[in-house]
């Protein structure tokens, strides 16, 4: 073989190698993503499509012989369903009160934990415990505290002379929703506290020192320095919490199952109970679609905020 032709072969091989390595670089990420994407398509997208399909049917688990395509009938029924509107209103109240109280107490906790004191690491760890407690257990603990016969809350209020007789907190419609809200606030304070603490620790100390030189008060420093700097974290955390809390089922289900009457029924609990106790899967699927539509607005806002703060 002559020198020139072997050089040409070499060159061709190089080019081929380069081509393949370029192809490899191009397709490797897709190959790597394939398992996750396929599994997600199979267990998330397919079920969602299936859910939309089920929502177009009369589909009651005990009457499977009578499953029938009914078009948008379920969607129309929901709009004239009193319980749907009640549960939607309760959802708004539940999420609104819960998330704003979690935020206020979470911020106070974060400000306290941001100070130096003996045992801070321990307190910071222990304060997070409610957050990894099973929702069911959170529900039970609070149900036991509120108990109308042997509950510690009633007993303590009677011993303090505030009440003269026990109140069945979760069994009367005027206090059930409030009781559930307090339990949920309890569960979510740690999350806010830790998120906001991380944001507080990222605020440069020099800013406070400069403000000290200018003679700013603690309150002024908080309003002019701290708040503007943690604002993006605050917004993102608020939206994130709104999404999670809107989806909660277990705490309410265990505490009141939405009762008495429908006084503590929220939309996801209504959906869950329609499937679990009512066995009406067609209608439950429809309710879950409505719930998702409501949430999509918040999710979209959250993602928009998140991307904007990442871009910055």
């Amino acid at each position: 073989m002559s020198a020139t032709s072997s050089a040409r072969v070499e060159q061709g091989r190089n080019r081929r190698d380069r081509f393949w390595s370029a192809m490899r670089y191009r397709y490797t990420p897709y190959l790597l993503l394939l398992p996750a994407v396929l599994v997600t398509l199979a267990i998330v997208f397919y079920p969602i499509v299936r859910s939309l399909w089920i929502s177009l049917h009369y589909y009651v688990l005990t009457r499977l012989r009578f499953v029938e395509f009914i078009g948008l009938e379920n969607y129309r029924t929901v709009l004239s369903d009193r319980v749907f509107w009640t549960s939607l209103r309760h959802s708004v109240i539940y999420v609104g009160f819960t998330v704003s109280a979690q935020f206020v107490f979470g911020l106070i906790t974060a400000l306290l934990l941001n100070q130096k004191f003996w045992g801070r690491g321990f307190v910071r760890a222990i304060i997070l415990v409610p957050w990894v407690t099973p929702g069911v257990l959170t529900g039970f603990m609070w149900r036991w505290i509120y108990d109308g016969n042997f509950g510690v809350l009633n007993q303590a209020l009677i011993d303090l002379g505030i009440l003269s007789s026990s109140i069945p907190w979760l069994a009367q419609s005027s206090t059930a929703l409030g009781g559930v809200i307090i339990a949920t606030i309890w569960q979510g304070i740690p999350f806010f506290a830790i998120m906001l603490l991380a944001a507080l620790q990222a605020v440069p100390l020099e800013l406070y020192e400069a403000a000290d030189i200018d003679g700013a008060s603690t309150w002024q420093k908080f309003l002019r320095i701290t708040l503007p700097l943690i604002y993006p974290t605050v917004l993102i955390t608020l939206l994130l919490r709104m999404i999670w809390v809107s989806n909660y089922v277990d705490i309410i289900y265990v505490m009141t199952a939405g009762g008495p009457g429908h006084s503590s029924l929220t939309l996801p609990v209504y959906t869950f109970m329609t499937a679990r106790s009512g066995l009406d899967y067609g209608y439950a699927a429809t309710l879950s679609v409505y719930l998702t539509l409501c949430l999509l607005v918040v999710i979209a806002l959250y993602i928009w905020m998140l991307r904007r703060s990442e871009a910055r």
Binding site: N114, Q115, S288
Partner: protein
Amino acid sequence: MAGSSAKRKSLVTRFFTFTLPLTAILAFQLFPFVWMILTSLKSEVEISSDPFTYLPRNWTFANYGRIFDVLPFARYFVNSAIVASSTAIIGLAISVFAAYALSRFRFYGRNAIMLSFLTIYMFPPVLLLIPLFVIIRSLGLLDTHFSLVLAYSTFTIPFSVWMMTGFLKSIPHDLEEAAMVDGCGRLGAFVRVTLPVAAPALAATGIYIFIFSWIEFIFAVMFTSSDTSRTLVVGLNTLVGQFTINWGLLTAGGVVTAIPAILLFTLIQRQLIQGLSAGAVKG
């Protein structure tokens, strides 16, 4: 406020602006646990007796023994452990390569994929509950561990992809590139060089999935119907009778259920808090 408190606050101010509020918040956050533990250590008679007792008159562990007699609680414990660890292992295995691709390559559709994983993770569980129940029922998989692993993967896979992508991004590429120069393939370099460095982050993600599966209720209560697959939280719920609840047993069972989750959580606290700011962790 943070940092330079140049002027010493008087002890009184410190008490009202710091000690008192911190104590109040801690008391509020810890009281339900304290009350659960105290109740679990009382006898059944004492719990529902007049006069009311705050502290147990006779401290007893009887409820902790009885919970294992009344219910197949050990079986539930094993079921929870099987479901949670399988979900964690499967979730990690499937998502680690996806996270690698998302953290190391720029390619068409990357952002769209990231966003859809994030969005899926925020969908209401009840949206997937109904179709998954119908699908799992028609596959004859109701009342199996696998049905729960499948259901939890819907959330844990997108979650772990999102969280691990964040972790992997924070590991510098240099090491990997050096290994590639030394003749490792791209994937080889990732497996041999980056993965060991990322091990704590992977463990944290795995443990978080474990905890999530350990405490999940609504899928577990829908998909399981017998002791062969019932998890701990569902087992707890079976203690609720039509009219009465045995609070001694329920609180003892609650303590047993909560302890593994709390212990595991303390292991991964630091990484988890880091992952929190990526907005991926479910509250």
